[in-house]
């Protein structure tokens, strides 16, 4: 055999002094935050919170700036498969373990130990929670704040990394905006003004409880008029806005521009996007799992309504919906969906589980002007597009045949077009008649006939 293994040692250039300093400042910010929460310093919550957040942000911003701006703008994927932090090997497993552990403790520490291990951190966040929501920090506000913070900090990195590509810049700005305003600030203000809390960038089925009879009716009949508006908003989001926008722009308007899950995947998760499995086998599994989850959410929601209306099978219905909430809502979309970023790539949940993505995908496949156009015969089969597709689509298999890419799973992130060294791929909206172009299999072929 003539094949020799490549040297696998990481050859990423060493960090310079500024980068090291910035990382230390960032790390010490986190240490200070945790130390304050779990010590007597918690009595100075506001001061310690401000101080540690300043350190965390300043460290991150300086590190990211130094790292990204020290190179000319352009595709920057050097050393990704040579570094254990990003190539799916040892350090990736360590990070995945840490992320998953966070979710396990966050969800179940009360059940396991009788107290919430992050409770002291909630108290540290209280000044913020009181200011925004007029109440002490709740379980979900802690998570939502951390989540938004992560999207903003790592979104800053993504903005600089892809600064040569205006589609990426605007798109990243959009997910940062929707997370901060629609999923964090507006829900907080709704609470402050004694209105029902609602995340405005989610709807059923991703936000599965929205159409559970009890939740929906509570909103519908709430004392304030806004409840009714929000209930109608949720329905319109799923059944009117989604088909219309998907027809014009494809699934991407939601998954890559608005959704918080997609937002986290494309910011915090960006360093691991290449780890998604591109095999046909993975594609087969994906089709089974994602449509199973969709079926699960539809059946469990319908059964709840049947039970609510006719007062039958109430035990079964609520059991089914509760198991959906636990298995899909907590374990799949959270612990696995985010925790396994560094192992299965960043869109594990979006690809294998999300019922919203399943619906958007079906619309995109059959009733949408969106497609990724392949540019004639310029493809050199290099595989950058497939490698960096977070949804595990073997983009190259279409591009090298000159075929447009029309896949239900494509979230339109645009990275395949960005990493293509030959200008072969472009995200486009156009007439349905030109969506599929399989008759143009090959330029040479076409000409000879």
């Amino acid at each position: 055999m003539l094949i020799e293994p490549m040297h696998t040692a990481s050859t990423a250039p060493d960090l310079n002094a500024t980068q090291k300093l910035a990382l230390s400042v960032h790390g010490s910010g986190w240490l200070l935050l945790i130390a304050s929460a779990y010590s007597a310093l918690k009595n100075q919550a506001l001061m310690m919170l401000i101080l540690s957040v300043i350190l965390i942000v300043a460290g991150a911003v300086i590190y990211i700036w130094k790292t990204e701006m020290s190179r000319p703008e352009g595709v920057a994927n050097h050393h990704i498969w040579r570094s254990s932090l990003t190539n799916g090997n040892a350090l990736c497993y360590l990070i995945a373990f840490a992320l998953t552990s966070f979710y396990v403790f966050y969800y179940w520490s009360y059940d396991m130990f009788g107290f919430e291990v992050f409770e002291p951190l909630y108290r540290l966040l209280d000044p913020l929670s009181y200011a925004l929501r007029g109440e002490a920090t709740k379980h979900w506000f802690f998570y939502g704040t951390l989540y938004t913070f992560a999207i903003l900090i790592t979104g800053f990195r993504v903005l600089l990394k892809y600064r040569h590509n205006r589609y990426q810049v605007i798109r990243t700005g959009s997910v940062m905006f929707f997370q901060t305003i629609f999923a964090w600030l507006i829900p907080a203000l709704l609470v402050l003004f004694k209105q029902p809390e609602k995340y405005l960038n989610y709807s059923w089925p991703l936000s599965y409880k929205d159409l559970w009879p009890q939740n929906f009716m509570e909103l519908w009949h709430s004392d304030t008029k806004l409840g009714l508006v929000l209930a109608l908003y949720g329905l319109a989001f799923t059944f009117i806005l989604t088909p219309i926008l998907t027809y014009y722009f494809g699934k991407r308007w939601y998954c890559s521009w608005v959704c918080g899950c997609g937002g986290l995947a494309n910011t915090l998760g960006d360093p691991w996007r290449q780890l998604s499995d591109k095999s046909e086998k993975a594609w087969k599994i994906e089709k089974v799992t994602i449509y199973s989850v969709l079926g699960f959410v539809i059946i469990s929601t319908l059964l709840l309504w049947v039970s609510w209306k006719f007062s039958i099978m109430t035990g079964f219905s609520s059991g089914l919906s509760k198991s959906y909430g636990f298995l899909i809502g907590l374990v799949f979309s959270g612990a696995i969906g985010v925790g396994f970023y560094p192992i299965f790539g960043t869109r594990v949940w979006c690809r294998f589980g999300c019922p919203q993505a399943a619906i958007l995908g079906m619309l995109q496949r059959v009733f949408s002007r969106f497609r990724i156009t392949t540019n004639g015969s310029q493809c050199i089969s290099c595989g950058n597009c497939s490698t960096y597709c977070e949804m595990g689509i073997d983009v190259r298999s279409y591009a090298q045949k000159g075929e447009n890419i029309n896949r239900a799973s494509c979230v339109g992130c645009g990275i395949c077009a960005n990493v293509c060294p030959r200008g072969v791929l472009s995200l486009e909206n156009g007439p349905m008649t030109t969506k599929y172009n399989s008759e143009l299999k090959f330029i040479g072929d076409m000409k000879s006939k």
Partner: protein, 452 residues
């Protein structure tokens, strides 16, 4: 059941094998290579080195596909061929019989007899083994000298710089790659390489390579007499057909294996295609040997039909196009744009302020019929370029409908009106204005159909 043997599993050999299987489910197909058991994308070698991809990810088909398609792959070197007895002889003396034979053995880097060219850490970049060798020398290389200003040279420079290895780039011409690139584009590339800290030396040639005490390169001398210390020398002054094993035989060869327009050699049932093949009668405006990814692929597609269906049609190369990437600047060309503008042609060249994007269209004086396009830092739409070139559109038609050529991602700054302003400034008598805005070519096709 006949047996097809293909020597070489690069893009030509692999495409051929796959296409023959699509047309004929029975034929025995043997794909021979001493390079890699699996077809991989040769232009992607640089991405393995830079850590953008793993070697496995450069393979366009999943490994199990070759077994699914019943295409056997042999890892061996062919030393000679007996055309009378119809068998190939491997370096271990094994005989591989064939009914039809296709030579698709690709290229090898040129060496021009430089003193010291066979020292250690002096090499080209063509094969997977070349890549491994580059990898092996990299950790002990502080400076690399690259000789020959072509596409592979730029790739090599980009690769080394990702490892913090300094690069000196010797180029014979005054302007970079000026045989192909007009001066405007050429200077953009040179300037961009300087931004990436490439030490570019125009009008400088390699004179001699000197050994260190271990038989590895230690320094070189240039044609200007300068001595440059280096631990690696990259020879990237082009490639030539890899046909040493077939040269001294009944097979007619020149620089490459000579073929007719049905890719047939002078021996019955023996064909050649891709980098190693040379057309006895070259096509008008085309080189007799074309070492490009898509020409190999196109030839393989036609050859599969010829082998499976008999005399179907000639290979038609179509309108020339190519593309490359110089660090961060993408380059696309369609039709005929060379370094030197031919007599009787005019050119319109637009470049943005910071020298990262440019557009060029060449056209005949008088009739204003277009002859070719160059795009730098802008993506052109292949099918439209091809269509307009084959329909002999005028430069003014092109400018009026320029939006249809634009294949850039959404939200990118549009270049169309700047180009038109440029043209109208030079030609004050003919005021062109933009009609077709950026968008799907289908829009254009539709309007064309409506006109008809």
């Amino acid at each position: 059941m006949s047996k097809l043997v293909i020597i070489g599993n690069g893009v030509t050999g692999a495409t051929l094998a796959k296409r023959v299987r699509e047309l004929d489910s029975e034929k025995e197909i043997v794909l021979i290579s001493n390079e890699s058991p699996y077809f991989f994308s040769r232009p992607a070698l640089m991405y393995i080195y830079m850590g953008h991809m793993t070697e496995k990810q450069t393979r366009p088909f999943e490994d199990h596909k070759w077994d699914d398609w019943k295409i056997s792959r042999l890892q061996t070197m062919i030393n000679s061929i007996d055309y009378n007895k119809k068998h190939c002889l491997t370096d271990t003396g094994e005989k591989i019989s064939y009914d039809e034979l296709v030579i698709a053995s690709g290229s090898k880097p040129n060496k021009f007899g430089w003193p010291g060219q066979d020292l250690e850490a002096v090499q080209g970049l063509y094969s997977l083994q070349d890549l491994y060798s580059m990898e092996k020398w990299s950790s002990t290389t502080k400076r690399a000298v690259i000789v020959g200003g072509g596409l592979i040279g730029v790739e090599m420079a980009e690769m080394f710089l990702t490892r913090g290895i300094e690069v000196t780039f010797l180029v014979r011409e005054k302007e970079f790659w000026n045989t192909i690139l007009p001066v405007g584009e050429s200077r953009m590339v040179a300037k961009h390489m300087a931004e990436h800290h490439v030490d570019l030396r125009p009008q400088t040639e390699l004179k001699e390579i000197h050994s260190d005490e271990n038989g590895r390169v230690g320094s070189i001398t240039t044609s200007t007499g300068e001595k440059i210390d280096c631990e690696f020398v990259g020879l990237t002054a082009g490639v030539s057909p890899n046909i040493d094993a077939f040269k001294d035989s009944d097979l007619n060869c020149d620089r490459g294996v000579l073929i007719d327009r049905q890719l047939q050699t002078n021996i019955e049932n023996v064909y050649a295609a891709g980098d190693c093949a040379q057309f006895t009668e070259p096509y008008e405006g085309r080189r007799p040997i074309e070492q490009v990814w898509y020409t190999g692929k196109n030839q393989a597609m036609i050859l599969a039909e010829i082998i499976c269906k008999g005399d179907v049609h000639n290979y038609i190369p179509g309108i020339w196009f190519n593309s490359a990437k110089f660090f961060d600047i993408e380059y696309q060309t369609y039709g005929t744009v060379m370094g030197k503008l031919p007599e009787g042609e005019d050119t319109l060249f637009w470049q943005d302020k910071n020298g990262k994007r440019s557009f060029r269209v060449n056209y005949l004086k008088g009739s204003k019929t277009i002859t070719g396009f160059n795009f730098m830092g802008i993506r052109g739409r292949h099918l439209i370029c091809e269509q307009w070139l084959s329909e002999n559109k005028t430069v003014e038609y092109v400018l009026t409908n320029l939006g249809a050529l634009n294949f850039d991602p959404e939200f990118y700054t549009l270049f169309e009106s700047s180009v038109i302003n440029e043209y109208n400034t030079i030609n004050p008598e003919s005021k062109v204005s933009l009609k077709t805005k950026k968008g799907l070519f289908s829009k254009l096709f539709r309007t064309l159909e409506e006109v008809k």
